[in-house]
Amino acid sequence: MTAVITDQAPPILKGPSDKEKKYDRQLRLWAASGQQALEDAHILLLNSGAGTVGVETLKNLVLPGIGKFTIADNATVKHADLGVNFFLDEDCLGKPRSECCVKLLQELNPDVKGDWFPREKGESLESLFGHGHNFTLIMYSLPIEAESLALVQKYAEKNQVPLLSIHSAGFYSYFRIHLPGTFPIVDTHPESTATTDLRLLTPWPELSKFAADVTADIENQSAHEHGHIPYVALLLHYLGKWKDIHGSLPSTYKEKTAFRDTVSAGARRDNPEGGEENFDEATAAVLKTISAPSLASSVKEVFDYKPSEVEASSSFWVITDAIKQFYGKHNALPLPGSVPDMKAQSTIYVQLQNIYKAKARRDISEVLEIVRAHPSGKDVEVAEIETFSKNAAFIKLIRGIDSTPPSIQTIASQEFENDKTAELTMMPLSLLPIYLSLNATSHLPSASSSDILATVGKDVLGASDNQRLVEAAEEVARAKGGELHNISALTGGMVAQEVIKIITKQYIPIDNTCVFDGIISRAQVLRI
């Protein structure tokens, strides 16, 4: 076998750098690649109203080391700001809020650049967007003036920049992400328990031979040998026997449980422990591993999506096309190649690992070949193809906001219909009333509950007869457009997580609106 361990780079015997020390706890989540993406990013916050939720979000982005941020805000600091915004103090009273917040935020991390706008009184927002900045992502807090909103939307649209709106008032908040076009993610970080892919129903020759070798003369093996046969080999061994008797592999639940009993019966029990750990592992793995791999609906969605001409030449879609062809040919995705830990002797386990790694490498080279044959596939990085192939079962596509989104009336009817059966289905009630009530004050500093209901009523039939909507409107009116620091801190945490996911292209962001209710302590994600 030629495939020895090639992915073990010669280790460097030196400790971590200062930066690695400072960022250790987050590098364990998004690695150096994610960190680099953060450090390359420039985020703009258009701040208004009580002005805290956006600043709290920035705090959670400055700490992990975002490259640069800019705050645009033309408010001057008032006493009320000091009771809600931690990044202001007495010395800031009467000064521009943008500059003061930037300075106190920058103290958190000397590696981050901060800028504010306007630099001079009366500078218009157009001049900020005309400056040739390259914003990676833009956030604005609500309420906002309609003219400013139109300007920022135009800029985001033209430059294909993700746009986030955030609204926090009293005990409620929501935020909404507007992604430019589709947003594919490869590095979704699935739960480690979900990623085991052992292909026990379709073993390849090397794996079959390995299983046959280590289970040869199984009845007469010594206690040590017998107790250390890796469960992968045990299952393959008993599957072979099952097939000899039944003519086919176990497929129904009943067959699988019967198969499980056969495996369990193979354990030796005349020892002091009264059983064998490797057989316990094999028994426990039957239902999870003895099933034909099926394509997750999220992957199917990626396969079915027809990328536009521009999209189609990007590496993601070129690789997707290749993986799709691979799947068409083999009725399976490329093998991820990892093997979970299991009771086994070291050499045997490493041998098994290498069999899986070698097969994964063969699959990757096949995908690579298809990619290279693609008209746009010449320059696609091998590393990207490798990562993609290993995580093919968990890729995900977020579609961005539809050009013709469903009407609020349609969404409301659906949500309120669900609420009727919520008690029966034990589902929480919809938080749409909160979104609707906050949304009605998108351009107003504050409003009465009847004003809010009247505005909502323009889009949603019978708004003022809906008890939960009436209550949500009353609660929003009660806050008079004021933020509670707590709710803004919590919302700022949620938004920062989403921003990190979008910038690093790791983990899965929301699609596309998240509403938070601080009274019942619950969030809901809605596609609006």
Binding site: G49, K59, H79, A80, G83, P428, N486, L490, G492, A523
Partner: protein, 453 residues
């Protein structure tokens, strides 16, 4: 107005008369809402009661908690934290600067927030929560825990439940607990970092942390024989270096997890062993992670959980809206795949060893030796006791201390359970993690006892 479109901040904040610092807070403190109870009081007097409330925040969420509490109108805040500032805290604990590394977390954080938010008093306690006695905890109205170990949480939980005295309503201290390092429901989540939980306990009235203990499964230890003879994973090589090689070679007098020289020694040892067994993946970062049991942590997740805790404290203190507690009492947050919260009621257990009245059933194999039984207590999800002392109804089975009692009871360790107690007997267990509380168990033999031949 004929001004040009300026920047987004053109939405004026609502006219404030007078322009007071707590205007926004007063919007909810001085106005009733659709969900406020009938007792909710908007008077000056009611609002000012908040000035006299004493709140305690403990542990790693401290920075966020202090900021949130101070800006929620709490005036008398205490913080307790034994840790000193490490450079790896700076990516999230935002009150600390590089020049603060090595100083007391409680003191630096307290000074910072007191300076930033005028009129708030913050008292730091640079010590372990276990160093304080009942009188200390009795002075608070609400306790918020952001502790990073199950042991510390259990201690605080049992201490506060012990305080609760039906004769004295003041002795019931709501406990709010937040964490980002071990939330899981029946094995659902394993990947930490974007996840956390917050929960509210009304001592002796609602489900306590001990009632919920089985939701936090203890970490499975790798068997020693795997480390010693058949390593398969990079982690096995590191644990070998950590547990076995260090003991044998004693390169330094005492292992210090924070000393890079010590970690480097372990890393090199682990690496050599990994090469011997052709195992890949040992890195410095992994070595550090395994040895220190590092859990990923980021600012945003801490912000979410701390604010959620403070939100509940604020609602309890002000009655501005119903809090978690009597109905739903537990909120799980997960941000890995979209955003998902699960808010539910965890039921109080009548046989909870800390807040319940009944002895809890404990299934046990009577053929276990007492030693094996004690070891199993560390791993059982519902017990998780590492240094238990055990008493039966009429005699002591094993005491960890004092030395004289330990020596006297040590011979029992080799005896089988069935020899020492009968099926259905009650035993009482104490453990340093529980403070002064006893666990009461009723033993149920699930196998037949075979007397030794």
């Amino acid at each position: 107005m004929s001004q040009p479109v300026m920047v987004a901040g053109t939405i004026p904040v609502p006219a404030l008369e007078p322009d007071s610092r707590w205007t926004y807070l007063d919007n909810v403190r001085r106005n009733t809402g659709p969900y406020t109870s009938e007792e909710f009081d908007t008077s000056d007097e009611a609002v000012s009661t908040m000035d006299r409330l004493k709140v305690l925040g403990a542990g790693g969420l401290g920075c966020e908690l202090l900021k949130d509490l101070a800006l929620s109108g709490f005036k008398d805040i205490h913080v307790i934290d034994m840790d000193t500032i490490d450079v790896s805290n700076l990516n999230r604990q935002f009150l600390f600067r590089h020049s603060d590394v090595g100083k007391s977390k409680a003191e630096v954080a307290a000074r910072f927030v007191e300076k930033r938010v005028k009129g708030v008093s913050i008292t730091p306690h640079n010590c372990k929560i276990q160093d304080k006695d009942e009188d200390f905890y009795m002075q608070f109205n609400i306790v918020i825990c952001g502790l990073d170990s199950i042991e510390a949480r259990r201690w605080m939980n049992s201490t506060l439940i012990n305080l609760a005295d039906p004769e004295n309503p003041e002795s019931y201290k709501p406990l709010i607990d937040g964490g980002t390092e071990d939330c899981q429901i029946a094995g659902l989540s394993t990947q930490l970092g974007f996840k956390g939980q917050s929960r509210v306990v009304f001592p002796t009235i609602t489900s306590c942390l001990e009632c919920q203990l089985d939701m936090h499964a203890p970490r499975q230890a790798v068997p020693l024989c795997t480390l010693a003879t058949i390593p398969r994973q990079p982690e096995h090589c590191i644990e070998w270096a950590h547990i076995i090689a260090w003991e044998q070679e004693q390169p330094f007098p005492k292992l210090d997890n924070d000393d890079p020289e010590h970690i480097t020694w372990l890393y090199k040892k682990a690496l050599a062993r990994a090469e011997e067994f052709k195992i890949s993946g040992v890195t410095y970062s992994l070595t550090q992670g395994v040895v220190k049991n590092i859990i990923p942590a980021i600012a945003s997740t801490n912000a979410i959980i701390a604010a959620s805790c403070c939100n509940e404290a604020f609602k309890i203190a002000t009655q501005t809206n119903p809090s978690l507690g009597f109905e739903e009492n537990y909120m799980m947050y997960s941000g890995n795949d979209s955003i998902y919260t699960y808010t539910f009621k965890h039921e109080k257990k009548d046989d909870c060893p800390v807040c319940g009245q009944l002895a809890r059933d404990l299934e046990v194999d009577p053929n276990f030796t007492l030693q094996e039984f004690i070891e199993s207590l560390a791993e059982r999800a519902e017990a998780q006791l590492k240094k238990p002392s055990i008493r039966a109804e009429s005699h002591t089975l094993y005491m960890q201390s004092p030395v004289s009692l330990e020596e006297m009871t040590r011979p029992n360790l080799k005896k089988k359970i069935g020899e020492l107690v009968g099926n259905g007997d009650e035993i009482a267990i104490t453990d340093p993690s529980l403070g002064t509380v006893n666990f009461k168990y009723k033993l149920k033999f699930f196998k037949e006892y075979r007397a030794a031949v």
